[in-house]
Symmetry: C3
Amino acid sequence: MNLIYTLDLIGTFVFAISGALTAASKKFDLFGAAVIAFVTAVGGGTLRDLLIGSQPVGWMQDLNYLYLIILAVPLSYVLRPYIQWLRHTMFMFDTIGIGIFTILGLQKTLSFGLEAPIAVMMGAVSAVFGGVVRDTLCNEIPLIFREEIYATACLAGGILFLLLATQIADTKLVTFITVAFIITIRVFAVRYKWRLPTGG
Amino acid sequence: MNLIYTLDLIGTFVFAISGALTAASKKFDLFGAAVIAFVTAVGGGTLRDLLIGSQPVGWMQDLNYLYLIILAVPLSYVLRPYIQWLRHTMFMFDTIGIGIFTILGLQKTLSFGLEAPIAVMMGAVSAVFGGVVRDTLCNEIPLIFREEIYATACLAGGILFLLLATQIADTKLVTFITVAFIITIRVFAVRYKWRLPTGG
Amino acid sequence: MNLIYTLDLIGTFVFAISGALTAASKKFDLFGAAVIAFVTAVGGGTLRDLLIGSQPVGWMQDLNYLYLIILAVPLSYVLRPYIQWLRHTMFMFDTIGIGIFTILGLQKTLSFGLEAPIAVMMGAVSAVFGGVVRDTLCNEIPLIFREEIYATACLAGGILFLLLATQIADTKLVTFITVAFIITIRVFAVRYKWRLPTGG
Protein backbone atom coordinates (compact mmCIF):
# COMPACT_ATOMS: atom_id res chain seq x y z
CA MET A 1 0.00 0.00 0.00
CA ASN A 2 1.20 3.43 -1.01
CA LEU A 3 2.54 5.56 1.87
CA ILE A 4 0.72 8.75 0.83
CA TYR A 5 -2.53 6.83 0.46
CA THR A 6 -2.07 5.37 3.95
CA LEU A 7 -1.42 8.79 5.41
CA ASP A 8 -4.46 10.15 3.59
CA LEU A 9 -6.64 7.45 5.16
CA ILE A 10 -5.15 8.21 8.60
CA GLY A 11 -5.87 11.91 8.16
CA THR A 12 -9.43 11.16 7.09
CA PHE A 13 -9.97 8.87 10.07
CA VAL A 14 -8.59 11.34 12.60
CA PHE A 15 -10.56 14.26 11.18
CA ALA A 16 -13.70 12.10 11.36
CA ILE A 17 -13.02 11.38 15.04
CA SER A 18 -12.43 15.06 15.70
CA GLY A 19 -15.77 15.88 14.06
CA ALA A 20 -17.67 13.17 15.91
CA LEU A 21 -16.21 14.23 19.26
CA THR A 22 -17.16 17.85 18.66
CA ALA A 23 -20.70 16.78 17.74
CA ALA A 24 -20.98 14.51 20.79
CA SER A 25 -19.90 17.35 23.07
CA LYS A 26 -22.80 19.37 21.63
CA LYS A 27 -25.30 16.54 22.35
CA PHE A 28 -25.96 15.78 18.69
CA ASP A 29 -27.47 12.34 18.14
CA LEU A 30 -25.56 9.56 16.38
CA PHE A 31 -26.83 10.61 12.96
CA GLY A 32 -25.84 14.23 13.54
CA ALA A 33 -22.42 13.10 14.73
CA ALA A 34 -21.98 11.00 11.60
CA VAL A 35 -22.83 14.00 9.41
CA ILE A 36 -20.36 16.24 11.26
CA ALA A 37 -17.67 13.53 11.16
CA PHE A 38 -18.20 13.15 7.44
CA VAL A 39 -18.02 16.82 6.49
CA THR A 40 -15.00 17.36 8.74
CA ALA A 41 -13.13 14.50 7.11
CA VAL A 42 -13.98 15.13 3.45
CA GLY A 43 -15.01 18.81 3.40
CA GLY A 44 -11.62 20.23 2.44
CA GLY A 45 -10.87 17.76 -0.31
CA THR A 46 -14.40 18.09 -1.66
CA LEU A 47 -14.21 21.88 -1.99
CA ARG A 48 -10.80 21.56 -3.66
CA ASP A 49 -12.09 18.94 -6.11
CA LEU A 50 -15.14 21.05 -7.01
CA LEU A 51 -13.03 24.17 -7.62
CA ILE A 52 -10.45 22.42 -9.80
CA GLY A 53 -13.11 20.29 -11.53
CA SER A 54 -12.13 16.81 -10.32
CA GLN A 55 -15.48 15.01 -10.26
CA PRO A 56 -16.87 12.71 -8.98
CA VAL A 57 -15.03 14.06 -5.94
CA GLY A 58 -12.23 11.93 -4.49
CA TRP A 59 -13.90 10.15 -1.57
CA MET A 60 -16.68 8.91 -3.89
CA GLN A 61 -14.25 6.84 -5.88
CA ASP A 62 -12.82 4.76 -3.02
CA LEU A 63 -15.17 3.32 -0.40
CA ASN A 64 -12.38 3.02 2.18
CA TYR A 65 -12.88 6.70 3.03
CA LEU A 66 -16.58 6.17 3.70
CA TYR A 67 -16.00 3.04 5.77
CA LEU A 68 -13.31 4.67 7.91
CA ILE A 69 -15.60 7.60 8.65
CA ILE A 70 -18.51 5.32 9.55
CA LEU A 71 -16.16 3.39 11.85
CA ALA A 72 -14.95 6.59 13.50
CA VAL A 73 -18.39 7.61 14.79
CA PRO A 74 -19.16 4.81 17.27
CA LEU A 75 -15.49 4.73 18.22
CA SER A 76 -15.70 8.40 19.19
CA TYR A 77 -18.61 7.69 21.50
CA VAL A 78 -16.65 4.87 23.13
CA LEU A 79 -13.56 7.09 23.45
CA ARG A 80 -15.43 10.09 24.83
CA PRO A 81 -14.85 9.37 28.55
CA TYR A 82 -11.10 9.40 27.88
CA ILE A 83 -11.13 12.57 25.83
CA GLN A 84 -9.38 14.73 28.41
CA TRP A 85 -6.53 12.29 28.32
CA LEU A 86 -6.88 12.05 24.54
CA ARG A 87 -6.74 15.77 23.86
CA HIS A 88 -3.00 15.84 23.25
CA THR A 89 -3.19 12.76 21.07
CA MET A 90 -6.03 14.34 19.06
CA PHE A 91 -4.09 17.56 18.65
CA MET A 92 -1.12 15.65 17.24
CA PHE A 93 -3.26 13.59 14.86
CA ASP A 94 -5.13 16.70 13.70
CA THR A 95 -1.81 18.42 13.12
CA ILE A 96 -0.49 15.44 11.16
CA GLY A 97 -3.77 15.55 9.22
CA ILE A 98 -3.43 19.16 8.11
CA GLY A 99 0.21 18.54 7.18
CA ILE A 100 -0.68 15.61 4.93
CA PHE A 101 -3.80 17.18 3.43
CA THR A 102 -1.94 20.39 2.59
CA ILE A 103 0.72 18.66 0.53
CA LEU A 104 -1.68 16.16 -1.10
CA GLY A 105 -4.05 18.97 -2.02
CA LEU A 106 -1.21 21.03 -3.45
CA GLN A 107 0.07 18.13 -5.55
CA LYS A 108 -3.39 17.31 -6.92
CA THR A 109 -3.97 20.94 -7.90
CA LEU A 110 -0.62 21.11 -9.71
CA SER A 111 -1.52 17.89 -11.54
CA PHE A 112 -4.54 19.73 -12.97
CA GLY A 113 -2.20 22.22 -14.62
CA LEU A 114 -2.93 25.12 -12.26
CA GLU A 115 -0.31 27.63 -11.17
CA ALA A 116 1.79 27.42 -8.01
CA PRO A 117 0.04 30.16 -5.97
CA ILE A 118 -3.34 28.52 -6.67
CA ALA A 119 -1.90 25.14 -5.63
CA VAL A 120 -0.66 26.61 -2.33
CA MET A 121 -4.14 27.98 -1.66
CA MET A 122 -5.83 24.71 -2.56
CA GLY A 123 -3.44 22.86 -0.25
CA ALA A 124 -4.53 25.03 2.66
CA VAL A 125 -8.19 24.75 1.64
CA SER A 126 -7.92 20.94 1.58
CA ALA A 127 -6.47 21.01 5.09
CA VAL A 128 -8.70 23.52 6.84
CA PHE A 129 -12.10 23.68 5.15
CA GLY A 130 -13.46 20.52 6.78
CA GLY A 131 -12.79 22.03 10.18
CA VAL A 132 -14.50 25.27 9.15
CA VAL A 133 -17.68 23.40 8.26
CA ARG A 134 -17.47 21.33 11.47
CA ASP A 135 -17.18 24.44 13.62
CA THR A 136 -19.91 26.28 11.72
CA LEU A 137 -22.38 23.38 12.03
CA CYS A 138 -21.52 23.05 15.74
CA ASN A 139 -22.05 26.80 16.14
CA GLU A 140 -18.46 27.62 17.12
CA ILE A 141 -16.19 30.29 15.69
CA PRO A 142 -14.05 28.37 13.17
CA LEU A 143 -10.62 27.33 14.46
CA ILE A 144 -8.96 29.10 11.53
CA PHE A 145 -10.29 32.37 12.96
CA ARG A 146 -9.41 31.52 16.57
CA GLU A 147 -5.96 29.94 16.15
CA GLU A 148 -4.10 32.25 13.84
CA ILE A 149 -1.32 29.92 12.83
CA TYR A 150 -3.66 27.10 11.77
CA ALA A 151 -3.98 28.01 8.10
CA THR A 152 -0.81 30.08 7.96
CA ALA A 153 1.24 26.95 8.73
CA CYS A 154 -0.44 25.22 5.76
CA LEU A 155 0.31 28.12 3.43
CA ALA A 156 3.95 28.30 4.63
CA GLY A 157 4.31 24.53 4.19
CA GLY A 158 2.94 24.75 0.67
CA ILE A 159 5.39 27.49 -0.27
CA LEU A 160 8.27 25.50 1.23
CA PHE A 161 7.20 22.46 -0.81
CA LEU A 162 7.35 24.43 -4.04
CA LEU A 163 10.75 25.91 -3.18
CA LEU A 164 12.25 22.54 -2.23
CA ALA A 165 10.72 20.82 -5.25
CA THR A 166 12.84 23.03 -7.51
CA GLN A 167 16.00 21.79 -5.70
CA ILE A 168 15.26 18.19 -4.77
CA ALA A 169 14.08 15.64 -7.31
CA ASP A 170 12.75 13.15 -4.74
CA THR A 171 9.11 14.21 -4.26
CA LYS A 172 8.64 11.75 -1.42
CA LEU A 173 11.48 13.36 0.52
CA VAL A 174 10.14 16.87 -0.12
CA THR A 175 6.71 15.71 1.02
CA PHE A 176 8.16 14.37 4.26
CA ILE A 177 10.14 17.53 4.98
CA THR A 178 7.22 19.86 4.36
CA VAL A 179 4.68 17.79 6.28
CA ALA A 180 7.14 17.77 9.21
CA PHE A 181 7.59 21.53 8.79
CA ILE A 182 3.83 22.19 9.02
CA ILE A 183 3.53 19.99 12.09
CA THR A 184 6.49 21.70 13.77
CA ILE A 185 5.19 25.18 13.05
CA ARG A 186 1.77 24.44 14.50
CA VAL A 187 3.10 22.67 17.59
CA PHE A 188 5.43 25.56 18.38
CA ALA A 189 2.79 28.17 17.56
CA VAL A 190 0.26 26.65 19.93
CA ARG A 191 2.82 26.00 22.67
CA TYR A 192 4.24 29.54 22.56
CA LYS A 193 0.96 31.26 21.57
CA TRP A 194 2.23 32.90 18.37
CA ARG A 195 -0.28 35.45 17.08
CA LEU A 196 -0.87 37.43 13.90
CA PRO A 197 -1.62 41.15 14.26
CA THR A 198 -5.34 41.99 14.50
CA GLY A 199 -7.10 44.85 12.85
CA GLY A 200 -7.78 46.64 16.15
CA MET B 1 -45.50 12.81 -19.32
CA ASN B 2 -43.21 10.49 -17.42
CA LEU B 3 -44.43 9.54 -13.92
CA ILE B 4 -41.07 10.04 -12.21
CA TYR B 5 -40.69 13.45 -13.87
CA THR B 6 -44.17 14.44 -12.67
CA LEU B 7 -43.36 13.35 -9.13
CA ASP B 8 -40.06 15.24 -9.31
CA LEU B 9 -41.93 18.41 -10.28
CA ILE B 10 -44.42 17.87 -7.44
CA GLY B 11 -41.59 17.39 -4.96
CA THR B 12 -39.89 20.57 -6.21
CA PHE B 13 -43.12 22.54 -5.93
CA VAL B 14 -43.90 21.35 -2.43
CA PHE B 15 -40.38 21.97 -1.16
CA ALA B 16 -40.57 25.48 -2.65
CA ILE B 17 -43.80 26.12 -0.75
CA SER B 18 -42.26 24.78 2.44
CA GLY B 19 -39.30 27.15 1.98
CA ALA B 20 -41.48 30.17 1.20
CA LEU B 21 -43.73 29.51 4.19
CA THR B 22 -40.75 29.25 6.52
CA ALA B 23 -39.36 32.51 5.13
CA ALA B 24 -42.72 34.26 5.45
CA SER B 25 -43.00 33.17 9.09
CA LYS B 26 -39.63 34.89 9.67
CA LYS B 27 -40.87 38.13 8.03
CA PHE B 28 -38.52 37.87 5.04
CA ASP B 29 -39.65 40.04 2.12
CA LEU B 30 -40.88 38.51 -1.15
CA PHE B 31 -37.38 38.39 -2.62
CA GLY B 32 -35.98 36.68 0.48
CA ALA B 33 -38.84 34.20 0.39
CA ALA B 34 -38.12 33.44 -3.25
CA VAL B 35 -34.46 32.78 -2.45
CA ILE B 36 -35.36 30.45 0.43
CA ALA B 37 -38.00 28.68 -1.68
CA PHE B 38 -35.46 28.18 -4.43
CA VAL B 39 -32.65 26.76 -2.32
CA THR B 40 -35.07 24.50 -0.44
CA ALA B 41 -36.42 23.06 -3.68
CA VAL B 42 -33.18 22.61 -5.62
CA GLY B 43 -30.49 22.55 -2.89
CA GLY B 44 -30.32 18.78 -2.49
CA GLY B 45 -30.22 17.95 -6.17
CA THR B 46 -27.69 20.71 -6.80
CA LEU B 47 -25.24 19.43 -4.19
CA ARG B 48 -25.62 15.89 -5.56
CA ASP B 49 -25.03 17.07 -9.13
CA LEU B 50 -21.91 19.03 -8.13
CA LEU B 51 -20.43 16.08 -6.22
CA ILE B 52 -21.01 13.54 -8.99
CA GLY B 53 -20.06 16.05 -11.71
CA SER B 54 -23.40 16.44 -13.52
CA GLN B 55 -23.21 20.02 -14.80
CA PRO B 56 -24.94 22.30 -15.67
CA VAL B 57 -26.93 21.13 -12.65
CA GLY B 58 -30.33 19.55 -13.31
CA TRP B 59 -32.77 22.41 -12.69
CA MET B 60 -30.83 24.63 -15.13
CA GLN B 61 -31.67 22.38 -18.02
CA ASP B 62 -35.46 22.45 -17.68
CA LEU B 63 -37.21 25.76 -17.00
CA ASN B 64 -40.27 24.03 -15.54
CA TYR B 65 -38.43 23.74 -12.22
CA LEU B 66 -37.74 27.49 -12.16
CA TYR B 67 -41.31 28.39 -13.13
CA LEU B 68 -42.86 26.11 -10.50
CA ILE B 69 -40.68 27.64 -7.79
CA ILE B 70 -41.53 31.19 -8.89
CA LEU B 71 -45.22 30.21 -8.83
CA ALA B 72 -44.89 28.73 -5.35
CA VAL B 73 -43.80 31.99 -3.71
CA PRO B 74 -46.91 34.17 -4.14
CA LEU B 75 -49.07 31.08 -3.61
CA SER B 76 -47.42 30.57 -0.22
CA TYR B 77 -48.29 34.13 0.80
CA VAL B 78 -51.91 33.54 -0.24
CA LEU B 79 -52.02 30.21 1.61
CA ARG B 80 -50.41 31.52 4.79
CA PRO B 81 -53.65 32.27 6.70
CA TYR B 82 -54.64 28.62 6.25
CA ILE B 83 -51.27 27.21 7.27
CA GLN B 84 -52.44 25.80 10.60
CA TRP B 85 -54.99 23.80 8.69
CA LEU B 86 -52.40 23.05 6.02
CA ARG B 87 -49.72 21.75 8.36
CA HIS B 88 -50.73 18.11 7.97
CA THR B 89 -51.03 18.47 4.22
CA MET B 90 -47.55 20.07 4.10
CA PHE B 91 -46.07 17.31 6.23
CA MET B 92 -47.44 14.69 3.83
CA PHE B 93 -46.20 16.51 0.75
CA ASP B 94 -42.76 17.06 2.31
CA THR B 95 -42.64 13.38 3.18
CA ILE B 96 -43.63 12.38 -0.33
CA GLY B 97 -40.94 14.79 -1.53
CA ILE B 98 -38.12 13.20 0.42
CA GLY B 99 -39.28 9.75 -0.68
CA ILE B 100 -39.17 10.69 -4.36
CA PHE B 101 -35.96 12.71 -4.16
CA THR B 102 -34.16 9.90 -2.33
CA ILE B 103 -34.85 7.30 -5.01
CA LEU B 104 -34.30 9.69 -7.94
CA GLY B 105 -30.99 10.86 -6.44
CA LEU B 106 -29.87 7.29 -5.87
CA GLN B 107 -30.71 6.27 -9.43
CA LYS B 108 -28.90 9.27 -10.94
CA THR B 109 -25.78 8.55 -8.86
CA LEU B 110 -25.76 4.90 -9.96
CA SER B 111 -26.11 6.06 -13.58
CA PHE B 112 -22.80 7.92 -13.14
CA GLY B 113 -21.08 4.61 -12.39
CA LEU B 114 -20.65 5.21 -8.66
CA GLU B 115 -20.93 2.45 -6.08
CA ALA B 116 -24.06 1.49 -4.14
CA PRO B 117 -23.10 2.99 -0.72
CA ILE B 118 -22.27 6.31 -2.39
CA ALA B 119 -25.61 6.20 -4.24
CA VAL B 120 -27.48 5.63 -0.96
CA MET B 121 -25.73 8.65 0.54
CA MET B 122 -26.44 10.81 -2.48
CA GLY B 123 -30.11 9.78 -2.35
CA ALA B 124 -30.36 11.05 1.21
CA VAL B 125 -28.37 14.20 0.34
CA SER B 126 -30.75 14.94 -2.55
CA ALA B 127 -33.70 14.61 -0.19
CA VAL B 128 -32.51 16.51 2.87
CA PHE B 129 -29.89 19.10 1.88
CA GLY B 130 -32.39 21.66 0.61
CA GLY B 131 -34.08 21.64 3.99
CA VAL B 132 -30.74 22.04 5.74
CA VAL B 133 -30.00 25.21 3.77
CA ARG B 134 -33.56 26.49 4.34
CA ASP B 135 -33.27 26.03 8.11
CA THR B 136 -29.76 27.49 8.23
CA LEU B 137 -30.75 30.63 6.28
CA CYS B 138 -33.84 31.01 8.49
CA ASN B 139 -31.64 30.63 11.57
CA GLU B 140 -33.21 27.40 12.81
CA ILE B 141 -31.50 24.18 13.84
CA PRO B 142 -31.79 21.98 10.72
CA LEU B 143 -34.66 19.50 10.79
CA ILE B 144 -32.22 16.63 10.16
CA PHE B 145 -30.67 17.41 13.55
CA ARG B 146 -34.02 17.89 15.33
CA GLU B 147 -36.05 15.02 13.85
CA GLU B 148 -33.82 12.00 14.03
CA ILE B 149 -35.64 9.79 11.59
CA TYR B 150 -35.70 12.37 8.81
CA ALA B 151 -32.51 11.35 7.05
CA THR B 152 -32.39 7.84 8.48
CA ALA B 153 -35.63 7.02 6.65
CA CYS B 154 -33.98 8.15 3.38
CA LEU B 155 -30.91 6.01 3.99
CA ALA B 156 -33.06 2.98 4.91
CA GLY B 157 -35.20 3.51 1.81
CA GLY B 158 -32.10 3.70 -0.37
CA ILE B 159 -30.74 0.45 1.04
CA LEU B 160 -34.12 -1.24 0.53
CA PHE B 161 -34.16 -0.04 -3.08
CA LEU B 162 -30.78 -1.66 -3.74
CA LEU B 163 -31.83 -4.92 -2.08
CA LEU B 164 -35.11 -5.14 -3.98
CA ALA B 165 -33.48 -4.16 -7.27
CA THR B 166 -31.43 -7.36 -7.12
CA GLN B 167 -34.65 -9.38 -6.87
CA ILE B 168 -37.20 -7.48 -8.93
CA ALA B 169 -36.54 -6.47 -12.50
CA ASP B 170 -39.30 -3.84 -12.67
CA THR B 171 -37.54 -0.62 -11.56
CA LYS B 172 -40.80 1.30 -11.51
CA LEU B 173 -42.28 -1.17 -9.02
CA VAL B 174 -39.18 -1.07 -6.82
CA THR B 175 -39.32 2.73 -6.91
CA PHE B 176 -42.93 2.70 -5.78
CA ILE B 177 -42.29 0.25 -2.95
CA THR B 178 -39.29 2.13 -1.59
CA VAL B 179 -40.88 5.57 -1.85
CA ALA B 180 -43.88 4.19 0.04
CA PHE B 181 -41.48 2.65 2.58
CA ILE B 182 -39.76 5.99 3.25
CA ILE B 183 -43.09 7.74 3.64
CA THR B 184 -44.38 5.07 6.02
CA ILE B 185 -41.25 5.12 8.16
CA ARG B 186 -41.36 8.89 8.58
CA VAL B 187 -45.06 9.04 9.30
CA PHE B 188 -44.78 6.36 11.97
CA ALA B 189 -41.59 7.86 13.41
CA VAL B 190 -43.16 11.28 13.85
CA ARG B 191 -46.45 9.90 15.16
CA TYR B 192 -44.78 7.62 17.74
CA LYS B 193 -41.75 9.88 18.38
CA TRP B 194 -39.08 7.34 17.47
CA ARG B 195 -35.63 8.56 18.55
CA LEU B 196 -32.01 7.66 17.91
CA PRO B 197 -29.70 7.46 20.94
CA THR B 198 -27.90 10.74 21.73
CA GLY B 199 -24.32 11.14 22.77
CA GLY B 200 -25.25 12.28 26.29
CA MET C 1 -6.43 45.61 -22.22
CA ASN C 2 -10.04 44.66 -22.71
CA LEU C 3 -12.56 47.03 -21.10
CA ILE C 4 -14.75 44.30 -19.61
CA TYR C 5 -11.69 42.55 -18.18
CA THR C 6 -10.56 45.85 -16.61
CA LEU C 7 -13.97 46.41 -15.08
CA ASP C 8 -14.00 42.82 -13.79
CA LEU C 9 -10.66 43.41 -12.05
CA ILE C 10 -11.97 46.67 -10.56
CA GLY C 11 -15.09 44.91 -9.28
CA THR C 12 -12.97 42.15 -7.77
CA PHE C 13 -10.68 44.67 -6.08
CA VAL C 14 -13.51 46.73 -4.63
CA PHE C 15 -15.39 43.69 -3.35
CA ALA C 16 -12.16 42.49 -1.71
CA ILE C 17 -11.81 45.84 0.05
CA SER C 18 -15.43 45.70 1.16
CA GLY C 19 -14.82 42.22 2.60
CA ALA C 20 -11.60 43.17 4.36
CA LEU C 21 -13.17 46.30 5.89
CA THR C 22 -16.11 44.29 7.20
CA ALA C 23 -13.72 41.73 8.70
CA ALA C 24 -11.55 44.45 10.25
CA SER C 25 -14.60 46.04 11.87
CA LYS C 26 -15.28 42.65 13.49
CA LYS C 27 -11.68 42.45 14.86
CA PHE C 28 -10.73 39.50 12.65
CA ASP C 29 -6.95 39.10 12.34
CA LEU C 30 -5.16 39.68 9.02
CA PHE C 31 -5.61 36.08 7.93
CA GLY C 32 -9.32 36.14 8.69
CA ALA C 33 -9.65 39.42 6.82
CA ALA C 34 -7.87 37.91 3.81
CA VAL C 35 -10.29 34.95 3.81
CA ILE C 36 -13.32 37.25 3.99
CA ALA C 37 -11.90 39.54 1.30
CA PHE C 38 -11.32 36.53 -0.93
CA VAL C 39 -14.75 34.95 -0.62
CA THR C 40 -16.46 38.32 -1.04
CA ALA C 41 -14.56 39.02 -4.24
CA VAL C 42 -14.79 35.60 -5.90
CA GLY C 43 -17.76 33.94 -4.16
CA GLY C 44 -20.40 34.91 -6.71
CA GLY C 45 -18.40 33.97 -9.79
CA THR C 46 -17.29 30.73 -8.15
CA LEU C 47 -20.84 29.57 -7.40
CA ARG C 48 -21.90 30.48 -10.95
CA ASP C 49 -18.96 28.58 -12.45
CA LEU C 50 -19.69 25.49 -10.34
CA LEU C 51 -23.38 25.47 -11.29
CA ILE C 52 -22.78 25.88 -15.02
CA GLY C 53 -19.77 23.54 -14.95
CA SER C 54 -16.97 25.96 -15.84
CA GLN C 55 -14.00 24.46 -14.01
CA PRO C 56 -11.31 25.18 -12.89
CA VAL C 57 -13.32 28.20 -11.74
CA GLY C 58 -12.48 31.57 -13.33
CA TRP C 59 -10.19 33.21 -10.76
CA MET C 60 -7.94 30.12 -10.74
CA GLN C 61 -6.99 30.66 -14.34
CA ASP C 62 -5.67 34.23 -14.03
CA LEU C 63 -3.44 35.14 -11.08
CA ASN C 64 -4.29 38.85 -11.37
CA TYR C 65 -7.47 38.21 -9.40
CA LEU C 66 -5.53 36.58 -6.57
CA TYR C 67 -2.89 39.34 -6.50
CA LEU C 68 -5.46 42.14 -6.45
CA ILE C 69 -7.26 40.52 -3.53
CA ILE C 70 -4.01 40.03 -1.60
CA LEU C 71 -3.18 43.70 -2.26
CA ALA C 72 -6.62 44.80 -1.06
CA VAL C 73 -6.20 43.40 2.47
CA PRO C 74 -3.34 45.55 3.85
CA LEU C 75 -4.73 48.51 1.92
CA SER C 76 -8.02 48.11 3.77
CA TYR C 77 -6.24 48.24 7.11
CA VAL C 78 -4.44 51.42 6.04
CA LEU C 79 -7.70 52.95 4.77
CA ARG C 80 -9.72 52.06 7.84
CA PRO C 81 -9.32 55.36 9.71
CA TYR C 82 -10.83 57.14 6.70
CA ILE C 83 -13.71 54.72 6.29
CA GLN C 84 -16.41 57.12 7.46
CA TRP C 85 -15.29 59.46 4.74
CA LEU C 86 -14.95 56.51 2.37
CA ARG C 87 -18.42 55.10 2.92
CA HIS C 88 -19.97 56.89 -0.04
CA THR C 89 -17.04 55.96 -2.27
CA MET C 90 -17.36 52.30 -1.19
CA PHE C 91 -21.08 52.31 -1.86
CA MET C 92 -20.48 53.58 -5.39
CA PHE C 93 -17.73 51.05 -6.09
CA ASP C 94 -19.84 48.21 -4.67
CA THR C 95 -22.73 49.34 -6.86
CA ILE C 96 -20.49 49.49 -9.93
CA GLY C 97 -19.28 46.02 -8.95
CA ILE C 98 -22.72 44.41 -8.87
CA GLY C 99 -23.58 46.10 -12.17
CA ILE C 100 -20.53 44.69 -13.91
CA PHE C 101 -20.72 41.24 -12.31
CA THR C 102 -24.39 40.87 -13.21
CA ILE C 103 -23.84 41.43 -16.92
CA LEU C 104 -20.58 39.43 -17.09
CA GLY C 105 -22.22 36.52 -15.25
CA LEU C 106 -25.22 36.62 -17.55
CA GLN C 107 -23.05 36.63 -20.68
CA LYS C 108 -20.91 33.72 -19.45
CA THR C 109 -24.01 31.65 -18.63
CA LEU C 110 -25.47 32.30 -22.09
CA SER C 111 -22.14 31.25 -23.64
CA PHE C 112 -22.62 27.84 -21.97
CA GLY C 113 -25.83 27.35 -23.95
CA LEU C 114 -28.21 27.89 -21.04
CA GLU C 115 -31.55 29.64 -21.39
CA ALA C 116 -32.23 33.32 -20.79
CA PRO C 117 -34.05 33.04 -17.42
CA ILE C 118 -31.22 30.91 -16.04
CA ALA C 119 -28.70 33.47 -17.32
CA VAL C 120 -30.56 36.29 -15.57
CA MET C 121 -30.45 34.31 -12.32
CA MET C 122 -26.77 33.49 -12.70
CA GLY C 123 -26.04 37.18 -13.35
CA ALA C 124 -27.62 38.10 -10.04
CA VAL C 125 -25.90 35.18 -8.27
CA SER C 126 -22.52 36.33 -9.62
CA ALA C 127 -23.18 39.81 -8.26
CA VAL C 128 -24.60 39.10 -4.82
CA PHE C 129 -23.39 35.70 -3.57
CA GLY C 130 -19.96 36.94 -2.48
CA GLY C 131 -21.64 39.49 -0.24
CA VAL C 132 -23.93 36.82 1.20
CA VAL C 133 -20.94 34.71 2.26
CA ARG C 134 -19.15 37.80 3.63
CA ASP C 135 -22.13 38.74 5.77
CA THR C 136 -22.72 35.17 6.92
CA LEU C 137 -19.09 34.67 7.99
CA CYS C 138 -19.15 38.05 9.76
CA ASN C 139 -22.38 37.02 11.49
CA GLU C 140 -24.57 39.70 9.93
CA ILE C 141 -27.91 39.30 8.18
CA PRO C 142 -26.98 39.25 4.48
CA LEU C 143 -27.40 42.58 2.70
CA ILE C 144 -29.67 40.92 0.11
CA PHE C 145 -32.15 40.28 2.92
CA ARG C 146 -31.75 43.74 4.49
CA GLU C 147 -31.67 45.94 1.39
CA GLU C 148 -34.53 44.77 -0.77
CA ILE C 149 -33.47 46.33 -4.03
CA TYR C 150 -29.94 44.87 -3.95
CA ALA C 151 -30.61 41.70 -5.93
CA THR C 152 -33.77 42.96 -7.58
CA ALA C 153 -31.73 45.62 -9.39
CA CYS C 154 -29.45 42.85 -10.72
CA LEU C 155 -32.39 40.78 -11.95
CA ALA C 156 -34.01 43.83 -13.59
CA GLY C 157 -30.70 44.75 -15.24
CA GLY C 158 -30.32 41.23 -16.57
CA ILE C 159 -33.80 41.27 -18.09
CA LEU C 160 -33.12 44.68 -19.64
CA PHE C 161 -29.88 43.34 -21.15
CA LEU C 162 -31.75 40.48 -22.83
CA LEU C 163 -34.47 42.81 -24.17
CA LEU C 164 -31.98 45.34 -25.55
CA ALA C 165 -29.76 42.62 -27.00
CA THR C 166 -32.62 41.62 -29.33
CA GLN C 167 -32.76 45.23 -30.66
CA ILE C 168 -29.15 46.45 -30.56
CA ALA C 169 -26.32 44.52 -32.18
CA ASP C 170 -23.53 46.31 -30.29
CA THR C 171 -23.05 44.17 -27.16
CA LYS C 172 -20.62 46.67 -25.65
CA LEU C 173 -23.26 49.40 -25.84
CA VAL C 174 -25.94 47.15 -24.34
CA THR C 175 -23.52 46.23 -21.56
CA PHE C 176 -22.89 49.90 -20.80
CA ILE C 177 -26.58 50.78 -20.74
CA THR C 178 -27.56 47.89 -18.47
CA VAL C 179 -24.67 48.36 -16.06
CA ALA C 180 -25.63 52.04 -15.80
CA PHE C 181 -29.26 50.99 -15.30
CA ILE C 182 -28.39 48.70 -12.37
CA ILE C 183 -26.27 51.41 -10.76
CA THR C 184 -29.02 54.00 -11.18
CA ILE C 185 -31.71 51.73 -9.75
CA ARG C 186 -29.68 50.93 -6.65
CA VAL C 187 -28.61 54.52 -6.03
CA PHE C 188 -32.21 55.75 -6.25
CA ALA C 189 -33.54 52.82 -4.21
CA VAL C 190 -31.16 53.47 -1.34
CA ARG C 191 -31.58 57.25 -1.48
CA TYR C 192 -35.39 57.09 -1.49
CA LYS C 193 -35.68 53.90 0.61
CA TRP C 194 -37.65 51.84 -1.92
CA ARG C 195 -39.00 48.65 -0.33
CA LEU C 196 -40.55 45.38 -1.46
CA PRO C 197 -43.67 44.19 0.37
CA THR C 198 -42.96 41.88 3.34
CA GLY C 199 -44.90 38.82 4.32
CA GLY C 200 -46.26 40.45 7.49
